[in-house]
Protein backbone atom coordinates (compact mmCIF):
# COMPACT_ATOMS: atom_id res chain seq x y z
CA UNK A 1 0.00 0.00 0.00
CA UNK A 2 2.72 2.45 0.90
CA UNK A 3 4.68 1.73 -2.30
CA UNK A 4 1.60 2.46 -4.37
CA UNK A 5 1.18 5.84 -2.76
CA UNK A 6 4.79 6.72 -3.30
CA UNK A 7 4.75 5.90 -6.98
CA UNK A 8 1.46 7.38 -8.01
CA UNK A 9 2.16 11.14 -7.97
CA UNK A 10 5.49 11.03 -9.81
CA UNK A 11 4.23 9.18 -12.91
CA UNK A 12 2.04 11.82 -14.60
CA UNK A 13 4.41 14.74 -14.07
CA UNK A 14 7.22 12.78 -15.69
CA UNK A 15 5.05 11.96 -18.67
CA UNK A 16 4.06 15.60 -19.09
CA UNK A 17 7.55 16.99 -19.51
CA UNK A 18 8.65 14.44 -22.12
CA UNK A 19 8.88 15.89 -25.64
CA UNK A 20 8.37 13.64 -28.70
CA UNK A 21 12.15 13.63 -29.15
CA UNK A 22 12.70 12.46 -25.61
CA UNK A 23 10.09 9.77 -26.08
CA UNK A 24 11.89 8.64 -29.21
CA UNK A 25 15.20 8.40 -27.34
CA UNK A 26 13.45 6.56 -24.54
CA UNK A 27 12.07 4.10 -27.06
CA UNK A 28 15.48 3.77 -28.72
CA UNK A 29 17.20 3.02 -25.43
CA UNK A 30 14.90 0.08 -24.77
CA UNK A 31 15.07 -1.29 -28.33
CA UNK A 32 17.36 -4.30 -28.06
CA UNK A 33 18.16 -4.74 -31.75
CA UNK A 34 18.98 -1.07 -32.19
CA UNK A 35 21.26 -1.01 -29.16
CA UNK A 36 23.03 -4.25 -30.10
CA UNK A 37 23.49 -3.19 -33.73
CA UNK A 38 24.69 0.26 -32.68
CA UNK A 39 27.17 -1.22 -30.24
CA UNK A 40 28.68 -3.65 -32.77
CA UNK A 41 28.96 -0.90 -35.38
CA UNK A 42 30.61 1.41 -32.86
CA UNK A 43 33.19 -1.27 -32.08
CA UNK A 44 33.90 -1.97 -35.76
CA UNK A 45 34.17 1.76 -36.58
CA UNK A 46 36.53 2.25 -33.66
CA UNK A 47 38.70 -0.69 -34.76
CA UNK A 48 38.76 0.65 -38.31
CA UNK A 49 39.74 4.16 -37.19
CA UNK A 50 42.41 2.94 -34.79
CA UNK A 51 43.72 0.16 -37.05
CA UNK A 52 47.19 1.72 -37.49
CA UNK A 53 47.53 1.99 -33.70
CA UNK A 54 46.07 -1.33 -32.54
CA UNK A 55 46.90 -3.74 -35.39
CA UNK A 56 49.62 -6.08 -34.11
CA UNK A 57 51.36 -6.34 -37.50
CA UNK A 58 51.71 -4.60 -40.85
CA UNK A 59 48.78 -5.98 -42.92
CA UNK A 60 50.98 -6.03 -46.03
CA UNK A 61 54.08 -7.63 -44.49
CA UNK A 62 54.58 -11.13 -45.91
CA UNK A 63 56.55 -13.74 -44.09
CA UNK A 64 56.54 -17.01 -46.00
CA UNK A 65 58.19 -18.91 -43.16
CA UNK A 66 55.07 -18.16 -41.10
CA UNK A 67 52.35 -18.90 -43.62
CA UNK A 68 48.99 -20.55 -42.82
CA UNK A 69 49.29 -20.51 -39.04
CA UNK A 70 45.84 -21.40 -37.64
CA UNK A 71 44.08 -19.16 -35.07
CA UNK A 72 45.03 -19.70 -31.42
CA UNK A 73 41.98 -21.79 -30.52
CA UNK A 74 43.10 -24.52 -32.91
CA UNK A 75 44.90 -27.54 -31.56
CA UNK A 76 48.06 -27.21 -33.60
CA UNK A 77 51.72 -26.81 -32.66
CA UNK A 78 51.99 -23.86 -35.06
CA UNK A 79 49.55 -21.57 -33.24
CA UNK A 80 51.04 -18.54 -31.55
CA UNK A 81 49.61 -15.59 -29.62
CA UNK A 82 51.69 -13.39 -31.90
CA UNK A 83 49.10 -14.17 -34.61
CA UNK A 84 45.80 -14.46 -32.73
CA UNK A 85 43.77 -15.16 -35.87
CA UNK A 86 46.63 -16.88 -37.66
CA UNK A 87 48.24 -15.96 -40.99
CA UNK A 88 47.18 -16.31 -44.63
CA UNK A 89 48.88 -18.12 -47.52
CA UNK A 90 51.52 -15.38 -47.76
CA UNK A 91 52.22 -15.27 -44.04
CA UNK A 92 50.36 -11.98 -43.47
CA UNK A 93 48.80 -11.50 -40.05
CA UNK A 94 45.06 -12.27 -40.40
CA UNK A 95 43.91 -10.07 -37.51
CA UNK A 96 45.71 -7.03 -38.89
CA UNK A 97 44.28 -7.60 -42.36
CA UNK A 98 40.84 -7.99 -40.82
CA UNK A 99 41.20 -4.65 -39.00
CA UNK A 100 42.36 -2.81 -42.12
CA UNK A 101 39.67 -4.61 -44.12
CA UNK A 102 37.04 -2.99 -41.89
CA UNK A 103 38.24 0.40 -43.21
CA UNK A 104 37.69 -0.68 -46.83
CA UNK A 105 34.22 -2.10 -46.13
CA UNK A 106 33.09 0.92 -44.13
CA UNK A 107 34.56 3.45 -46.55
CA UNK A 108 33.08 1.83 -49.65
CA UNK A 109 29.75 1.21 -47.93
CA UNK A 110 29.49 4.77 -46.66
CA UNK A 111 30.66 6.53 -49.83
CA UNK A 112 28.53 4.42 -52.15
CA UNK A 113 25.55 4.99 -49.86
CA UNK A 114 26.14 8.78 -49.97
CA UNK A 115 26.24 8.80 -53.78
CA UNK A 116 23.14 6.64 -54.14
CA UNK A 117 21.42 8.61 -51.36
CA UNK A 118 21.92 11.94 -53.12
CA UNK A 119 20.74 10.56 -56.48
CA UNK A 120 17.79 8.65 -55.04
CA UNK A 121 16.66 11.48 -52.76
CA UNK A 122 16.73 14.09 -55.53
CA UNK A 123 14.80 11.82 -57.91
CA UNK A 124 12.34 10.70 -55.24
CA UNK A 125 11.65 14.16 -53.85
CA UNK A 126 11.05 15.61 -57.33
CA UNK A 127 8.78 12.72 -58.33
CA UNK A 128 6.81 12.93 -55.11
CA UNK A 129 6.49 16.73 -54.96
CA UNK A 130 5.80 17.61 -58.58
CA UNK A 131 3.82 14.49 -59.51
CA UNK A 132 2.30 14.32 -63.00
CA UNK A 133 4.76 14.18 -65.90
CA UNK A 134 7.85 14.53 -63.69
CA UNK A 135 6.64 11.58 -61.63
CA UNK A 136 6.02 9.56 -64.79
CA UNK A 137 9.50 10.21 -66.16
CA UNK A 138 11.24 9.45 -62.85
CA UNK A 139 9.18 6.31 -62.39
CA UNK A 140 10.32 5.26 -65.81
CA UNK A 141 13.96 5.86 -64.84
CA UNK A 142 13.49 3.76 -61.69
CA UNK A 143 11.86 0.92 -63.65
CA UNK A 144 14.69 0.98 -66.19
CA UNK A 145 17.31 0.84 -63.46
CA UNK A 146 15.50 -2.08 -61.77
CA UNK A 147 15.43 -4.08 -65.01
CA UNK A 148 19.22 -4.14 -65.23
CA UNK A 149 20.94 -6.84 -63.16
CA UNK A 150 23.13 -4.98 -60.62
CA UNK A 151 26.00 -7.45 -60.18
CA UNK A 152 26.30 -8.15 -63.88
CA UNK A 153 26.26 -4.48 -64.91
CA UNK A 154 28.73 -3.59 -62.16
CA UNK A 155 31.09 -6.37 -63.26
CA UNK A 156 30.81 -5.42 -66.93
CA UNK A 157 31.47 -1.71 -66.29
CA UNK A 158 34.35 -2.36 -63.90
CA UNK A 159 35.95 -4.86 -66.27
CA UNK A 160 35.83 -2.26 -69.05
CA UNK A 161 36.87 0.81 -67.07
CA UNK A 162 39.43 -0.99 -64.91
CA UNK A 163 39.16 -1.63 -61.21
CA UNK A 164 40.11 0.79 -58.44
CA UNK A 165 38.63 1.85 -55.14
CA UNK A 166 37.08 4.98 -56.68
CA UNK A 167 35.60 3.07 -59.60
CA UNK A 168 34.06 0.47 -57.28
CA UNK A 169 32.51 3.21 -55.10
CA UNK A 170 31.06 5.10 -58.05
CA UNK A 171 29.74 2.03 -59.85
CA UNK A 172 27.99 0.75 -56.72
CA UNK A 173 26.72 4.22 -55.83
CA UNK A 174 25.33 4.81 -59.31
CA UNK A 175 23.52 1.46 -59.27
CA UNK A 176 21.76 1.15 -55.92
CA UNK A 177 19.75 4.39 -55.61
CA UNK A 178 16.46 2.72 -56.55
CA UNK A 179 15.20 2.00 -53.02
CA UNK A 180 16.04 5.56 -51.92
CA UNK A 181 14.05 6.94 -54.84
CA UNK A 182 11.04 4.69 -54.24
CA UNK A 183 10.82 5.37 -50.49
CA UNK A 184 11.54 9.12 -50.70
CA UNK A 185 8.94 9.44 -53.45
CA UNK A 186 6.15 7.92 -51.39
CA UNK A 187 7.21 9.78 -48.23
CA UNK A 188 7.20 13.07 -50.13
CA UNK A 189 3.75 12.33 -51.52
CA UNK A 190 2.48 12.04 -47.96
CA UNK A 191 4.17 15.24 -46.77
CA UNK A 192 3.23 17.28 -49.84
CA UNK A 193 -0.43 17.42 -48.90
CA UNK A 194 0.16 18.63 -45.33
CA UNK A 195 -0.73 22.12 -44.10
CA UNK A 196 2.76 23.43 -43.48
CA UNK A 197 3.70 22.83 -47.11
CA UNK A 198 0.57 24.62 -48.27
CA UNK A 199 1.33 27.57 -45.97
CA UNK A 200 4.91 27.74 -47.24
CA UNK A 201 3.51 27.86 -50.75
CA UNK A 202 1.05 30.57 -49.72
CA UNK A 203 3.89 32.59 -48.18
CA UNK A 204 5.57 32.57 -51.57
CA UNK A 205 8.55 30.40 -50.68
CA UNK A 206 10.51 29.30 -53.72
CA UNK A 207 10.18 25.65 -54.70
CA UNK A 208 13.81 24.73 -53.81
CA UNK A 209 13.25 26.35 -50.42
CA UNK A 210 10.09 24.34 -49.80
CA UNK A 211 11.82 21.13 -50.84
CA UNK A 212 14.89 21.80 -48.71
CA UNK A 213 13.51 23.34 -45.55
CA UNK A 214 9.95 22.02 -45.42
CA UNK A 215 9.85 18.63 -47.15
CA UNK A 216 13.36 17.26 -46.64
CA UNK A 217 13.52 17.57 -42.81
CA UNK A 218 10.16 15.82 -42.56
CA UNK A 219 11.21 12.80 -44.58
CA UNK A 220 14.72 12.56 -43.14
CA UNK A 221 13.78 9.65 -40.87
CA UNK A 222 12.86 7.54 -43.92
CA UNK A 223 16.11 8.55 -45.62
CA UNK A 224 18.20 7.54 -42.61
CA UNK A 225 16.56 4.12 -42.43
CA UNK A 226 17.14 3.42 -46.13
CA UNK A 227 20.68 4.80 -45.80
CA UNK A 228 21.60 2.13 -43.27
CA UNK A 229 20.06 -0.67 -45.33
CA UNK A 230 21.75 0.54 -48.52
CA UNK A 231 25.09 0.82 -46.75
CA UNK A 232 24.78 -2.85 -45.82
CA UNK A 233 23.79 -3.60 -49.42
CA UNK A 234 26.85 -1.71 -50.74
CA UNK A 235 29.18 -3.54 -48.36
CA UNK A 236 27.83 -6.91 -49.52
CA UNK A 237 28.16 -5.85 -53.16
CA UNK A 238 31.77 -4.73 -52.69
CA UNK A 239 32.58 -8.05 -51.03
CA UNK A 240 30.94 -9.97 -53.89
CA UNK A 241 32.77 -7.92 -56.53
CA UNK A 242 36.10 -8.32 -54.75
CA UNK A 243 35.37 -12.02 -54.35
CA UNK A 244 34.92 -12.30 -58.13
CA UNK A 245 38.22 -10.46 -58.63
CA UNK A 246 36.75 -7.22 -59.98
CA UNK A 247 36.42 -5.14 -56.84
CA UNK A 248 39.23 -3.94 -54.62
CA UNK A 249 42.54 -5.18 -56.00
CA UNK A 250 45.22 -7.08 -54.07
CA UNK A 251 47.18 -6.54 -51.88
CA UNK A 252 44.60 -4.15 -50.35
CA UNK A 253 43.00 -5.96 -47.41
CA UNK A 254 39.28 -6.35 -48.21
CA UNK A 255 37.09 -8.96 -46.57
CA UNK A 256 35.69 -10.13 -49.89
CA UNK A 257 39.18 -10.43 -51.28
CA UNK A 258 40.35 -12.36 -48.22
CA UNK A 259 37.57 -14.91 -48.80
CA UNK A 260 38.47 -15.06 -52.49
CA UNK A 261 42.17 -15.64 -51.67
CA UNK A 262 41.22 -18.41 -49.27
CA UNK A 263 38.87 -20.14 -51.73
CA UNK A 264 41.51 -22.55 -53.03
CA UNK A 265 42.74 -23.41 -49.54
CA UNK A 266 39.42 -23.67 -47.74
CA UNK A 267 39.25 -27.45 -48.04
CA UNK A 268 42.35 -27.71 -45.86
CA UNK A 269 41.98 -24.56 -43.75
CA UNK A 270 38.30 -23.75 -43.40
CA UNK A 271 38.94 -20.94 -40.90
CA UNK A 272 40.49 -18.91 -43.73
CA UNK A 273 37.00 -18.20 -45.07
CA UNK A 274 35.23 -18.45 -41.72
CA UNK A 275 37.09 -15.50 -40.15
CA UNK A 276 36.53 -12.76 -42.78
CA UNK A 277 33.08 -14.19 -43.54
CA UNK A 278 32.03 -13.86 -39.91
CA UNK A 279 33.35 -10.29 -39.79
CA UNK A 280 31.36 -9.39 -42.91
CA UNK A 281 28.26 -11.12 -41.58
CA UNK A 282 28.49 -9.35 -38.21
CA UNK A 283 28.94 -5.91 -39.76
CA UNK A 284 26.02 -6.34 -42.16
CA UNK A 285 23.82 -7.84 -39.45
CA UNK A 286 24.64 -4.95 -37.10
CA UNK A 287 23.83 -2.34 -39.75
CA UNK A 288 20.56 -4.11 -40.58
CA UNK A 289 19.62 -4.34 -36.89
CA UNK A 290 20.36 -0.63 -36.49
CA UNK A 291 18.31 0.17 -39.59
CA UNK A 292 15.34 -1.95 -38.50
CA UNK A 293 15.57 -0.42 -35.01
CA UNK A 294 15.68 3.14 -36.36
CA UNK A 295 12.63 2.37 -38.46
CA UNK A 296 10.73 1.00 -35.47
CA UNK A 297 11.59 4.13 -33.47
CA UNK A 298 11.29 6.92 -36.05
CA UNK A 299 9.06 5.67 -38.85
CA UNK A 300 7.07 2.67 -37.65
CA UNK A 301 4.61 3.07 -40.53
CA UNK A 302 7.25 1.78 -42.99
CA UNK A 303 7.21 -1.68 -41.47
CA UNK A 304 5.66 -4.13 -43.86
Amino acid sequence: MSTLQNNAPTMPSEALVRSPRQMMFQHAKTHRGLMLGGFVIAVIVLVALLAPLIAPHDPYAQMLSRKLIPPVWFDSPKTTWDHVLGTDHLGRDYLSRLMYGARISLMIGFSAMLISGVIGTILGICAGYFGGRVDMVINFIITTRLSMPVVLVALAVISIVGSSLTVVIWVIGLLIWDRFAVVVRSATQQVRGLDFVASAQALGSSTPRILFSDVLPNISNHIIVIATLEMAHAILLEAALSFLGLGVQPPTPSWGLMISDAKGLMFFDGWLIAVPGTALFMLVLAINLLGDGLRDVTAPEDRS
Partner: protein, 305 residues
Amino acid sequence: MLAFLLRRISTALLVALTVSSLTFSLNFLSGDPAIALAGESATQEDLQTIREAYGYDKPIPVQYFNWLTGALQGDLGQSHYLNQPVADEIFQRLPTTMTLGLSALVFALVLSIPLGVLAAIRPNSLFDRFALTVAVVGQAMPSFWFALTMMLWFAINWRILPVSGSNTWLHFVMPSIALGYYITPGVMRLTRAGMLEVLRSDYIRTARAKGVSRFSLMFKHALRNAIIPVVSLAAVQFGFMLGGSIVIETIFAINGLGFLAWESIQRADLPMMQAIVLVLSFFYIALTFLADVLNAWLDPRIRIG
Protein backbone atom coordinates in the same frame (compact mmCIF):
# COMPACT_ATOMS: atom_id res chain seq x y z
CA MET B 1 -8.42 -3.96 -68.98
CA LEU B 2 -7.47 -3.26 -72.60
CA ALA B 3 -6.39 0.30 -71.79
CA PHE B 4 -4.34 -0.98 -68.88
CA LEU B 5 -2.71 -3.62 -71.06
CA LEU B 6 -1.83 -1.12 -73.78
CA ARG B 7 -0.37 1.32 -71.27
CA ARG B 8 1.63 -1.39 -69.58
CA ILE B 9 2.93 -2.88 -72.85
CA SER B 10 4.12 0.50 -74.12
CA THR B 11 5.97 1.16 -70.85
CA ALA B 12 7.61 -2.26 -71.02
CA LEU B 13 8.72 -1.68 -74.61
CA LEU B 14 10.07 1.77 -73.78
CA VAL B 15 12.01 0.37 -70.81
CA ALA B 16 13.39 -2.40 -73.01
CA LEU B 17 14.48 0.17 -75.59
CA THR B 18 16.23 2.30 -72.96
CA VAL B 19 17.94 -0.73 -71.46
CA SER B 20 19.15 -1.77 -74.90
CA SER B 21 20.65 1.67 -75.60
CA LEU B 22 22.33 1.71 -72.18
CA THR B 23 23.75 -1.75 -72.84
CA PHE B 24 24.92 -0.63 -76.27
CA SER B 25 26.62 2.40 -74.74
CA LEU B 26 28.98 0.05 -72.85
CA ASN B 27 30.86 0.11 -76.19
CA PHE B 28 31.97 3.67 -75.56
CA LEU B 29 33.36 3.06 -72.11
CA SER B 30 36.04 0.84 -73.53
CA GLY B 31 37.76 3.17 -75.98
CA ASP B 32 38.41 1.91 -79.49
CA PRO B 33 37.06 -1.67 -79.72
CA ALA B 34 39.19 -2.36 -82.80
CA ILE B 35 42.40 -1.83 -80.80
CA ALA B 36 41.06 -4.05 -78.05
CA LEU B 37 40.45 -6.78 -80.62
CA ALA B 38 43.62 -6.51 -82.66
CA GLY B 39 46.04 -5.77 -79.86
CA GLU B 40 48.39 -2.81 -79.38
CA SER B 41 50.81 -3.82 -82.12
CA ALA B 42 48.24 -3.85 -84.94
CA THR B 43 48.89 -1.72 -88.04
CA GLN B 44 46.48 0.96 -89.24
CA GLU B 45 45.42 -1.35 -92.06
CA ASP B 46 44.58 -4.19 -89.68
CA LEU B 47 42.53 -1.81 -87.58
CA GLN B 48 40.69 -0.57 -90.65
CA THR B 49 39.89 -4.15 -91.71
CA ILE B 50 38.55 -4.97 -88.27
CA ARG B 51 36.50 -1.78 -88.13
CA GLU B 52 34.89 -2.65 -91.46
CA ALA B 53 34.37 -6.30 -90.52
CA TYR B 54 32.60 -5.46 -87.26
CA GLY B 55 30.92 -2.29 -88.55
CA TYR B 56 32.74 0.07 -86.18
CA ASP B 57 33.40 2.50 -89.04
CA LYS B 58 29.71 3.42 -89.34
CA PRO B 59 28.08 6.31 -87.44
CA ILE B 60 26.97 5.43 -83.90
CA PRO B 61 23.19 5.66 -84.48
CA VAL B 62 23.56 3.36 -87.48
CA GLN B 63 25.61 0.91 -85.40
CA TYR B 64 22.98 0.98 -82.67
CA PHE B 65 20.17 0.51 -85.16
CA ASN B 66 21.93 -2.45 -86.80
CA TRP B 67 22.69 -4.01 -83.43
CA LEU B 68 19.11 -3.57 -82.21
CA THR B 69 17.43 -4.89 -85.37
CA GLY B 70 19.85 -7.81 -85.27
CA ALA B 71 18.98 -8.48 -81.64
CA LEU B 72 15.26 -8.42 -82.44
CA GLN B 73 15.83 -11.09 -85.07
CA GLY B 74 17.77 -13.24 -82.65
CA ASP B 75 21.21 -12.15 -83.87
CA LEU B 76 22.99 -10.80 -80.81
CA GLY B 77 26.33 -10.33 -82.55
CA GLN B 78 29.53 -12.26 -82.92
CA SER B 79 31.56 -13.33 -79.89
CA HIS B 80 35.07 -11.84 -79.95
CA TYR B 81 36.49 -14.86 -78.21
CA LEU B 82 34.54 -17.89 -79.44
CA ASN B 83 34.19 -16.56 -82.99
CA GLN B 84 30.64 -17.80 -83.25
CA PRO B 85 27.24 -16.15 -82.84
CA VAL B 86 26.65 -14.97 -79.29
CA ALA B 87 23.03 -16.16 -79.42
CA ASP B 88 24.00 -19.82 -79.94
CA GLU B 89 26.07 -19.92 -76.78
CA ILE B 90 23.47 -18.01 -74.77
CA PHE B 91 20.57 -20.24 -75.71
CA GLN B 92 22.67 -23.28 -75.00
CA ARG B 93 23.36 -22.03 -71.46
CA LEU B 94 19.96 -20.52 -70.71
CA PRO B 95 18.19 -23.76 -69.66
CA THR B 96 20.77 -24.39 -66.93
CA THR B 97 20.28 -20.94 -65.41
CA MET B 98 16.51 -21.32 -65.70
CA THR B 99 16.67 -24.66 -63.87
CA LEU B 100 18.80 -23.11 -61.15
CA GLY B 101 16.54 -20.05 -60.85
CA LEU B 102 13.35 -22.11 -60.74
CA SER B 103 14.64 -24.59 -58.16
CA ALA B 104 15.92 -21.70 -56.04
CA LEU B 105 12.49 -20.08 -56.29
CA VAL B 106 10.73 -23.33 -55.35
CA PHE B 107 13.05 -23.77 -52.37
CA ALA B 108 12.43 -20.19 -51.22
CA LEU B 109 8.63 -20.43 -51.57
CA VAL B 110 8.33 -23.85 -49.94
CA LEU B 111 10.29 -22.55 -46.98
CA SER B 112 8.95 -19.04 -46.60
CA ILE B 113 5.20 -19.35 -47.26
CA PRO B 114 4.48 -21.92 -44.50
CA LEU B 115 6.76 -19.98 -42.16
CA GLY B 116 4.87 -16.77 -42.95
CA VAL B 117 1.51 -18.46 -42.36
CA LEU B 118 2.63 -20.02 -39.08
CA ALA B 119 4.05 -16.69 -37.92
CA ALA B 120 0.76 -14.97 -38.72
CA ILE B 121 -1.34 -17.50 -36.76
CA ARG B 122 0.11 -16.20 -33.52
CA PRO B 123 1.62 -12.75 -34.10
CA ASN B 124 4.35 -11.79 -31.61
CA SER B 125 4.53 -15.35 -30.32
CA LEU B 126 7.86 -17.04 -29.74
CA PHE B 127 7.66 -18.71 -33.16
CA ASP B 128 6.88 -15.41 -34.89
CA ARG B 129 9.88 -13.75 -33.30
CA PHE B 130 12.07 -16.72 -34.12
CA ALA B 131 11.02 -16.57 -37.78
CA LEU B 132 11.72 -12.83 -37.92
CA THR B 133 15.13 -13.32 -36.31
CA VAL B 134 16.01 -16.01 -38.83
CA ALA B 135 14.96 -13.60 -41.58
CA VAL B 136 17.15 -10.77 -40.28
CA VAL B 137 20.13 -13.08 -39.80
CA GLY B 138 19.67 -14.65 -43.24
CA GLN B 139 19.57 -11.27 -44.93
CA ALA B 140 23.00 -10.39 -43.52
CA MET B 141 24.76 -13.51 -44.79
CA PRO B 142 26.87 -12.88 -47.91
CA SER B 143 25.61 -15.44 -50.44
CA PHE B 144 29.09 -16.38 -51.67
CA TRP B 145 30.27 -17.01 -48.13
CA PHE B 146 27.17 -19.04 -47.35
CA ALA B 147 27.76 -21.05 -50.54
CA LEU B 148 31.39 -21.77 -49.66
CA THR B 149 30.49 -22.74 -46.10
CA MET B 150 27.80 -25.14 -47.32
CA MET B 151 30.29 -26.60 -49.78
CA LEU B 152 32.78 -27.12 -46.98
CA TRP B 153 30.31 -29.00 -44.78
CA PHE B 154 28.08 -30.92 -47.17
CA ALA B 155 30.58 -31.73 -49.90
CA ILE B 156 33.95 -31.94 -48.16
CA ASN B 157 33.32 -32.91 -44.54
CA TRP B 158 30.21 -35.06 -44.87
CA ARG B 159 30.48 -35.96 -48.56
CA ILE B 160 26.74 -36.12 -49.14
CA LEU B 161 26.55 -33.68 -52.06
CA PRO B 162 28.80 -33.11 -55.10
CA VAL B 163 31.20 -30.15 -54.82
CA SER B 164 30.54 -28.49 -58.16
CA GLY B 165 29.28 -28.98 -61.68
CA SER B 166 25.78 -29.27 -63.13
CA ASN B 167 25.31 -32.86 -64.29
CA THR B 168 22.68 -34.28 -61.92
CA TRP B 169 19.91 -32.79 -59.80
CA LEU B 170 22.10 -33.31 -56.74
CA HIS B 171 24.46 -30.69 -58.15
CA PHE B 172 21.66 -28.15 -57.93
CA VAL B 173 20.80 -28.62 -54.26
CA MET B 174 23.41 -26.33 -52.68
CA PRO B 175 23.34 -23.68 -55.44
CA SER B 176 19.54 -23.46 -55.21
CA ILE B 177 19.68 -22.97 -51.45
CA ALA B 178 22.48 -20.41 -51.75
CA LEU B 179 20.56 -18.47 -54.40
CA GLY B 180 17.09 -18.88 -52.91
CA TYR B 181 17.60 -18.23 -49.20
CA TYR B 182 18.22 -14.56 -49.84
CA ILE B 183 14.64 -13.91 -50.96
CA THR B 184 12.97 -15.98 -48.22
CA PRO B 185 12.81 -13.13 -45.65
CA GLY B 186 10.95 -10.84 -48.05
CA VAL B 187 8.45 -13.51 -49.09
CA MET B 188 7.96 -14.58 -45.50
CA ARG B 189 7.24 -11.05 -44.29
CA LEU B 190 4.83 -10.38 -47.13
CA THR B 191 2.98 -13.67 -46.51
CA ARG B 192 2.77 -12.86 -42.81
CA ALA B 193 1.48 -9.33 -43.41
CA GLY B 194 -1.02 -10.56 -45.99
CA MET B 195 -2.28 -13.32 -43.69
CA LEU B 196 -2.65 -10.94 -40.75
CA GLU B 197 -4.83 -8.67 -42.87
CA VAL B 198 -6.95 -11.46 -44.35
CA LEU B 199 -7.49 -13.17 -40.99
CA ARG B 200 -9.27 -10.03 -39.76
CA SER B 201 -11.86 -10.12 -42.55
CA ASP B 202 -15.49 -11.12 -42.22
CA TYR B 203 -15.45 -14.17 -44.47
CA ILE B 204 -12.80 -15.78 -42.27
CA ARG B 205 -15.04 -15.22 -39.25
CA THR B 206 -17.90 -16.80 -41.18
CA ALA B 207 -15.77 -19.79 -42.13
CA ARG B 208 -14.70 -20.13 -38.51
CA ALA B 209 -18.29 -19.95 -37.35
CA LYS B 210 -19.44 -22.71 -39.67
CA GLY B 211 -16.72 -24.95 -38.26
CA VAL B 212 -14.09 -25.15 -40.99
CA SER B 213 -11.05 -27.01 -39.74
CA ARG B 214 -8.12 -24.88 -38.69
CA PHE B 215 -5.78 -26.22 -41.37
CA SER B 216 -8.29 -25.71 -44.16
CA LEU B 217 -9.10 -22.25 -42.83
CA MET B 218 -5.48 -21.16 -42.91
CA PHE B 219 -4.20 -22.82 -46.05
CA LYS B 220 -7.35 -22.85 -48.20
CA HIS B 221 -9.51 -19.90 -47.22
CA ALA B 222 -7.01 -17.35 -45.99
CA LEU B 223 -3.81 -18.14 -47.88
CA ARG B 224 -5.54 -17.98 -51.27
CA ASN B 225 -6.21 -14.29 -50.81
CA ALA B 226 -3.06 -13.45 -48.92
CA ILE B 227 -0.90 -15.01 -51.63
CA ILE B 228 -1.81 -12.53 -54.39
CA PRO B 229 0.93 -9.97 -53.59
CA VAL B 230 3.36 -12.82 -52.95
CA VAL B 231 2.91 -14.06 -56.52
CA SER B 232 4.03 -10.77 -58.02
CA LEU B 233 6.90 -10.45 -55.54
CA ALA B 234 8.01 -13.97 -56.49
CA ALA B 235 7.98 -13.06 -60.19
CA VAL B 236 10.10 -9.97 -59.56
CA GLN B 237 12.50 -11.87 -57.30
CA PHE B 238 12.84 -14.60 -59.90
CA GLY B 239 14.12 -11.93 -62.28
CA PHE B 240 16.57 -10.69 -59.65
CA MET B 241 17.80 -14.22 -59.02
CA LEU B 242 18.53 -14.83 -62.69
CA GLY B 243 20.60 -11.64 -62.67
CA GLY B 244 22.30 -12.50 -59.39
CA SER B 245 23.12 -16.10 -60.24
CA ILE B 246 26.54 -15.08 -61.56
CA VAL B 247 28.16 -15.35 -58.12
CA ILE B 248 26.61 -18.72 -57.31
CA GLU B 249 27.24 -20.20 -60.75
CA THR B 250 30.88 -19.14 -60.57
CA ILE B 251 31.37 -20.78 -57.19
CA PHE B 252 29.69 -24.06 -58.08
CA ALA B 253 30.96 -24.09 -61.68
CA ILE B 254 27.43 -24.38 -63.04
CA ASN B 255 27.49 -24.04 -66.79
CA GLY B 256 24.78 -21.39 -67.05
CA LEU B 257 24.44 -17.79 -68.19
CA GLY B 258 26.06 -16.36 -65.06
CA PHE B 259 29.13 -18.51 -65.49
CA LEU B 260 29.22 -17.54 -69.16
CA ALA B 261 29.07 -13.89 -68.11
CA TRP B 262 31.99 -14.37 -65.76
CA GLU B 263 34.00 -16.19 -68.42
CA SER B 264 33.23 -13.42 -70.92
CA ILE B 265 34.41 -10.80 -68.46
CA GLN B 266 37.67 -12.68 -68.00
CA ARG B 267 38.06 -12.84 -71.79
CA ALA B 268 37.01 -9.19 -72.33
CA ASP B 269 34.31 -10.49 -74.68
CA LEU B 270 32.13 -7.38 -74.79
CA PRO B 271 29.43 -8.53 -77.29
CA MET B 272 28.78 -11.59 -75.13
CA MET B 273 28.52 -9.50 -71.95
CA GLN B 274 26.16 -7.04 -73.62
CA ALA B 275 23.98 -9.85 -74.93
CA ILE B 276 23.74 -11.47 -71.48
CA VAL B 277 22.82 -8.16 -69.82
CA LEU B 278 20.22 -7.62 -72.51
CA VAL B 279 18.70 -11.11 -72.27
CA LEU B 280 18.48 -11.00 -68.47
CA SER B 281 17.01 -7.48 -68.49
CA PHE B 282 14.38 -8.52 -71.02
CA PHE B 283 13.50 -11.48 -68.84
CA TYR B 284 13.05 -9.17 -65.88
CA ILE B 285 10.90 -6.76 -67.91
CA ALA B 286 8.75 -9.64 -69.16
CA LEU B 287 8.38 -11.07 -65.64
CA THR B 288 7.36 -7.75 -64.07
CA PHE B 289 4.93 -7.23 -66.93
CA LEU B 290 3.34 -10.63 -66.33
CA ALA B 291 3.19 -9.95 -62.59
CA ASP B 292 1.45 -6.62 -63.16
CA VAL B 293 -1.05 -8.12 -65.58
CA LEU B 294 -1.77 -10.96 -63.18
CA ASN B 295 -2.29 -8.49 -60.36
CA ALA B 296 -4.58 -6.31 -62.44
CA TRP B 297 -6.58 -9.33 -63.50
CA LEU B 298 -6.99 -10.44 -59.90
CA ASP B 299 -7.56 -6.99 -58.46
CA PRO B 300 -9.71 -4.59 -60.51
CA ARG B 301 -8.63 -1.57 -58.43
CA ILE B 302 -5.16 -1.64 -60.06
CA ARG B 303 -6.56 -1.59 -63.58
CA ILE B 304 -8.30 1.72 -63.06
CA GLY B 305 -5.71 3.48 -60.91
